[in-house]
């Protein structure tokens, strides 16, 4: 078993699993039109495309 502490080098995707889908959901005064689903969608799309871009050169085994 490997133990990773959030204070250490936290994987961004683990963080986003929690921060984008967790926490008490309240409608604030600034209504960010990204409702949950949109937020997760938008963010993960950004994440995945960014990771893909990073991997593309020489990603023989992807």
């Amino acid at each position: 078993m490997t133990l990773v502490r959030p204070d250490d080098e936290l994987s961004l995707v683990d963080l986003l699993d929690r921060l984008l889908a967790g926490g008490v959901m309240i409608t604030g005064d600034i209504t960010i039109s990204l409702a949950d689903v949109d937020l997760v969608h938008v963010s993960l799309r950004a994440l995945i495309s960014s990771v893909q871009t990073l991997l593309e050169p020489g990603s023989a085994d992807a």
């Binding site: 926490g23 039109s33 938008v42």
Partner: protein, 253 residues
């Protein structure tokens, strides 16, 4: 409230205990408390031009900006959670001013109190399990049917054997992941499953078979960790302790 600022809400905690935060917030500001009755909101004053609807929508599309926002939000919530029962608030929740936050604390006092009672003395622990990718063909060539006079058939048979073996291995891995989740759930107050992460995101060559998170009593962490250690046939990664982001609601899990 200074004109041109908004109140960013990080968390709601009990009002007793330390006041100020020593870690910088999402806009580099120093987070502070807005107290109302027995509850305290951990808030920060942020620049309205950087945190209005339009700016936020743009930032959340930018991975680098999203990352710094997420890390700062987590750091402030984690600091509060170290000393007080703390209910994390969803990323990017903003109010016009402190008064609006006071109203929130008053209006939803019962709900926040119930959430704080549920998570008091408990932390969130993430568990991810991985299995090796399915066996490569050359590793079991010796056991393949010998039809050297018909190389094409031999190749197809081997391909089919590989496919069947791969399917069996995946099935076994899925069963192992289900078993691990069931076992861990008995050591936790609650548990939730996240979608499995793509190998490109997890940064590991093995295939992820479990991505779960658990709310664990501080006094039961040893038992929980032993259960994680006893996982069979999979590489397991434990992350934590996290503030209870995934359990800051009243829905039962």
């Amino acid at each position: 409230m200074t004109p041109g600022t908004l109140t960013y809400l990080y968390a709601v905690r009990t009002a007793t205990g330390p006041g100020a935060s020593s870690v910088p917030g999402v806009d580099g500001e120093r987070p502070r408390l807005v107290v109302e009755g027995e509850l305290a909101a951990v808030v920060g004053s942020v620049d309205a031009s950087r945190f209005d609807e339009e700016a936020l929508a743009r930032d959340l599309e930018d991975l680098g900006r999203l990352e710094s926002l997420a890390r700062a939000h987590h750091a402030v919530v984690a600091e509060a959670a170290r000393t007080q029962p703390t209910a994390p608030i969803r990323l990017a929740t903003l109010y016009r001013d402190d008064d609006a936050v006071r109203h929130l604390l008053t209006d939803r006092a019962a709900e926040f109190t119930a959430i704080l009672e549920r998570i008091e003395g408990r932390w969130e622990w993430g568990v991810k399990a991985y299995v090796k990718p399915t066996t490569r063909p050359e590793e079991h060539e010796a056991g393949s049917p010998s039809t050297s006079d018909r190389p094409g058939t031999s190749y197809l048979l081997r391909r089919r054997a590989d496919r069947d073996r791969g399917e069996r291995e995946r099935e076994r891995a899925r069963t192992a992941a289900d078993d691990l989740h069931r076992t861990l759930r008995t050591h936790a107050a609650a548990g939730r499953l996240f979608p499995l992460q793509d190998a490109r995101l997890s940064g590991r060559s093995e295939e992820m078979v479990l991505n779960a998170t658990y709310l664990v009593d501080a006094g039961k962490e040893d038992g929980f960790r032993s259960a994680v250690d006893s996982a069979d046939g999979a590489a397991v990664e434990l992350t934590g302790p996290w503030p209870p982001f995934s359990f800051a609601s009243l829905e039962s899990t």
